[in-house]
């Protein structure tokens, strides 16, 4: 005796026809799934895009920069400077590649002699070595940086924020700032320095010029140190003793790139929060799909009865409704991935980030969609399969 048999291709087609025959309903419930999947994909995409940006930045800036300054506190009193010899001592550490010292000076720096000396806008004045720019991986936006040729002239380089606060946008040989009773010609404006952002708010002058025109104490307040990438930790360990042999405990060593790395890590925490939201959206989508499928079974009892009369087994009927539910959520999933990618693209464009949709986001999105399809389909499909053919035919 011959068995009843539904070819795999027909089985898919049957599910597809079921969806096609009820377009509005299909689109609406696929949309439910799509919204959930889109949320997950865009959250993962956006967070990866911003993380990539931070990590790229970190890559460009390097993680081998260390920073040394005199410790604050410890009750030893006011000396917030390092010894004069600190820079040369640190240079003696073998893996150290570059050292630049910076000394905080008394302000104020003003736009002109007429400006109010009390309105400094948070701008500080610092003496800096010509090596500073390379050491902190910075670059000039306009003009040039301090160098040996101008070290003893009254010239200044402005941090990015300083230039903005003072309203200086161009370096034309005429522009100057007013410090300690004289004009200092502005020879350069810096880009922002992510690894040394306090310098963004500074006016930088050469050490010789500071000695000549400002009559300041030039003990270094801070050293920036580039080391070989492989020996950052070792260098950090020996830095206090080298920088201040007499009071090594009064030396603070830090690694400015840690702040950026922490920011990238924080993105992750943020992501989990929004992923929770995505999970809720997915759940709503699943409930919606299940609801539609249950309704569909109730409504289509006549069709179920007919198919049994045509020779469908319970298994065929169950397979049909499962296929419908799976196809529905797969369509929703694909739409959701596309929407999520579009949202990520829009966000990346707006924020000037790289556009990245990680493969894992697409994978999780589609996995969630399939999961919804199975979860939302099993119960209605089982109900449909359990329906006796006579009952199904009588109801219709």
């Amino acid at each position: 005796m011959r068995r009843s048999r539904l070819r795999p291709g027909d089985s898919l087609r049957v599910g597809f026809v079921g969806l096609r025959s009820r377009k509005v309903r299909t689109v609406l419930s696929a949309l439910g799934v799509a919204i959930g999947v889109a949320t997950v994909v865009s959250v993962l995409g956006i967070s990866r895009s911003s993380q990539d940006e931070l990590l790229d930045q970190l890559d460009a800036l390097g993680t081998n920069l260390l920073q040394v300054q005199a410790g604050q506190g410890l009750g030893l009193g006011g000396n917030t400077d390092l010894p004069d010899t600190a820079a040369s001592q640190v240079r003696n550490i073998a893996p150290v590649e570059e050292v630049a010292s910076v000394t905080s000076l008394d302000g104020p720096a003003l736009r002109s002699s007429y400006a109010d000396p009390n309105a400094t806008g948070g701008i500080s004045v610092k003496a800096a070595e010509p090596t500073l720019l390379d050491t902190v991986a910075g670059s000039v936006a306009e003009g040039r940086f301090l160098d040996d040729a101008v070290d003893d002239y009254p010239v200044a380089v402005l941090g990015a924020v300083t230039a903005e606060r003072l309203g200086i946008t161009a370096v034309d040989g005429q522009t100057s700032v007013w410090m300690n009773g004289r004009a200092w010609q502005v020879i350069g404006i810096l880009e922002e320095l992510p690894l040394a952002s306090d310098l963004d708010r500074a006016v930088l002058v050469g050490y010789d010029a500071a000695a000549t025109y400002l009559d300041a104490d030039l003990a270094p307040s801070r050293l920036y140190i580039r080391t070989a990438s492989s020996s950052v930790e070792q260098v950090a360990d020996v830095l206090p003793a080298q920088a201040n042999p007499e009071e090594p405990e009064n030396v603070d060593v830090s690694r400015p790139s840690d702040a950026l790395a922490a920011k990238a890590a924080a993105e992750d925490a943020f992501t989990s929060l929004f992923l929770g939201l995505g999970a809720v959206a997915l759940l709503v989508g699943a409930v919606g799909t299940a609801n539609v499928m249950v309704m569909s079974v109730l409504e289509r009892r006549g069709e179920i009865g007919l198919r049994r009369a045509l020779g469908a087994t319970r298994r065929h009927v169950r397979g049909q409704f499962l296929a419908e539910s799976l196809l529905l959520s797969l369509c929703g999933g694909i739409a959701g991935v596309l929407i999520g990618a579009a949202v990520t693209f829009g966000y990346a464009q707006a924020k000037g980030l790289h556009f990245v949709v990680p493969a894992s986001a697409v994978g999780y999105g589609m996995l969630a969609a399939v999961g919804i399809g199975v979860l939302a389909g099993v119960y209605p499909a089982t109900r449909a399969a359990r329906l006796a053919p006579t009952e199904a035919l009588r109801a219709a």
Binding site: M1, R2, R3, S4, R5, L6, R7, G9, D10, R13, V14, V17, G18, R20, S21, R22, G302, E303, G305, L306, R307, R308, A309, L310, G311, A312, T313, R314, R315, H316, A388, P389, T390, L393, R394, A396
Partner: protein
């Protein structure tokens, strides 16, 4: 017993109970290959119940049901489904056509669960549609067709698997007299070409158009024109 050899359907002492309510009380009925049988009876007499049991859509509570040589009591659910897929055709009062499919695809569904490839199903469906006089309506959606046309599509579907027997439950119940007469003519023609058909009806005129009348009342066969004829012949 020469008629037992050619019987495509045989019921022996079939009863059906819904809980405590017995709606069929010991029905004996044999249908030979090539017969056109009307099962006639008033509403609630148990005609549909009988049709479901004969068509293996439901099981008898007691008694024997033999379809196309198979004792259905011995068959599993999946096996009787196979019997329906290959050897039985159904026509319903409400047509039961799928709205999303064209006429030819609805007809092709008559072989959907037989494992026949789609191209062959469709080719045979086209031929069968032509046979029922709807060769030019193959691409039409059922809801754009008249009731008579829809029932002819349903009949084409029931015939597609070349069934040993076709069961029609009130096939003219939803049709006006003109369309109903056309459908009955078609059933008679198909029977003349060799198809065994059992038509269930509560209308005497419909039953009169068939070769044999079996009358059901309160779950029992009260008259069978073939037995009467046999008795007369004896």
């Amino acid at each position: 017993m020469s008629d037992a050899v050619s019987a495509v359907l045989e019921l022996q002492q079939v009863t059906k109970k819904y809980g405590d309510l017995e709606v069929l009380h010991g029905v004996d009925l044999a249908v030979d290959s090539g017969e056109l049988v009307a099962v006639l009876g008033p509403s609630g007499s148990g005609k549909s119940t009988l049709l479901h049991i004969m068509g293996t859509l439901d099981r008898a509570t007691t008694g024997t049901v033999i379809v196309d040589g198979h004792d259905t009591a011995a068959l599993s659910e999946a096996q009787v489904a196979g019997l329906r897929a290959h050897r039985i055709g159904f026509v319903f009062q409400a047509f039961h056509l799928l709205d999303g499919l064209s006429a030819v695809d609805n007809v092709a569904n008559g072989l959907l669960y037989s494992g026949t490839p789609r191209a062959e199903r469709r080719a045979r469906a086209h031929a069968m549609l032509a046979r029922v006089g709807l060769g030019d309506r193959a691409g039409q959606l059922p809801r754009l067709m008249s009731g008579g046309e829809r029932q002819r599509v349903a009949i084409a579907r029931a015939l597609l698997n070349r069934p040993a027997i076709v069961f029609a439950d009130e096939p003219t119940g939803n049709l006006d007299s003109h369309n109903g007469a056309e459908v009955l003519d078609l059933l008679r023609e198909l029977n003349a070409e060799g198809t065994t058909i059992v038509v269930i009806t509560h209308e005497h005129e419909v039953a009169a158009a068939m070769g044999r009348q079996v009358e059901v009342r309160d779950g029992m066969i009260v008259r069978d024109s073939r037995r009467t004829a046999e008795a007369v012949a004896r």
